[in-house]
């Protein structure tokens, strides 16, 4: 076990670290985390004005990289207004107008996590506007797919909207939170797929490795999406351990939890691949 822990390296490509403690940063560093990417998301409550988002974007681009650096982990961010708050289209447009200014920050990798929550018309319009913004500024895109019973329908609407844009390059888009019933559709269209490891509401490490074995390990990353809810910031190394238990090679594990995210993220020149 100790040898595995020392030799492991991985990227956490989706973690909401503003919601986590410094103990989590330390645990992730000890487990071999070499970079963390933090998409903008819902705080658990609706912000009342665009000013709240301005402060949040400052936190993501200025404060959190400093907190992460104390544990020797480079920190990157993705920016947007999340789908749970985009029902208010006036607020959403106000927030989106601020994003180009923050895209200049040295650690911002792209637009995300955009997507759908309850699959409403307004959510879809704001999703399409974010995609336009990403295309206009040549940004990578990180997509959140809806939860539970809304996921399959939302994933289809998202894929249709990305296609309809006409200028989106699928290999520059990661569609996150895929599960057994949506993963193949995402990969078949040329997008990257993210598998989120949650204790209850998404995939377990065991199910994630099943998907890797039965669907694909190519154009796939694993993430914890750790946040203020029931989640585990060490779930990616736990999935790696599950792979090791099943006899996957060290090279295959490294490719999945380190090489794959590095390959996708390196499409943004601001992402600096961590040294081996």
């Amino acid at each position: 076990m100790a040898e595995n822990k020392i030799s492991m390296r991985y990227i956490e490509p989706h973690g909401h670290m503003v919601s986590r403690t410094t103990d989590d940063y330390q645990a992730m560093a000890l487990a071999g985390c070499k970079a963390i990417c933090e998409p903008a998301f819902w705080a658990g409550f609706d912000r009342k004005s665009a000013d709240g988002f301005y402060d949040y974007f400052c936190q993501l681009t200025q404060h959190e990289p400093k907190r992460s650096a104390k544990y020797c982990i480079p920190h990157y961010a993705w920016l947007c207004i999340n789908p749970k708050e985009s029902e208010d289209m006036g607020l959403a447009k106000e927030v989106m107008a601020m994003i180009p200014e923050f895209l200049k920050a040295p650690t911002v990798l792209g637009i995300g996590e955009i997507g759908l929550n309850k699959n409403t018309r307004n959510e879809l319009k704001i999703f399409e506007a974010h995609v336009d913004l990403a295309v206009q500024h040549n940004q990578l895109i990180l997509v959140h797919t809806p939860h539970l019973e809304d996921k399959r329908k939302g994933t289809r609407l998202i894929i249709d909207a990305l296609k309809a844009n006409g200028k989106v390059q699928p290999n520059r888009v990661i569609i996150d939170h895929v599960e057994e019933h949506t993963m193949a559709a995402v990969l078949d269209q040329g997008y990257w797929a993210g598998i989120t490891l949650y204790p209850e509401s998404k995939a377990s490490p065991q199910r994630a490795v099943d998907m890797i074995e039965t669907i694909s390990a190519q154009r796939v990353w694993l993430n914890s999406a750790c946040d203020w809810g029931h989640s585990d910031p060490l779930s990616v190394p736990k999935a790696a351990l599950e792979m090791r238990r099943r006899g996957h090679s060290s090279a295959a594990i490294d490719r999945l939890v380190f090489g794959n995210p590095v390959e996708f993220l390196s499409q943004c020149p601001k992402f600096i691949p961590p040294e081996a």
Binding site: N119, L124, E149, K153, R156, L157, E180, H181, D210
Partner: protein, 77 residues
């Protein structure tokens, strides 16, 4: 052992439901409807269950009355 423990937890949950009082719940209907899929001969059982619980409609809705998902499409039979 892990699968055994989870199966017993599920059995205990169904027993608790029998003892509880309350109105019909779409999540319980979804759970009961999924149980026969566990015994199907061919995979993928997980995808079959997830599809069973999914919203089968294809058009965006006008407005949501909640931000949360419940785990099972509320109109499941």
């Amino acid at each position: 052992m892990e699968a055994r423990a989870r199966l017993l937890d599920l059995a205990a949950f169904l027993d608790r439901l029998e003892r509880a009082r309350g109105a019909d719940d779409h999540r319980v209907r979804g759970l009961r409807a999924a149980l026969p899929l566990l015994l199907e001969k061919d995979p993928p059982r997980v995808a079959k269950i997830l599809n069973l619980w999914s919203d089968p409609t294809t058009e965006p809705i006008e407005k949501a009355d909640t931000k949360a998902a419940s785990g099972v499409w509320p109109k499941i039979k």
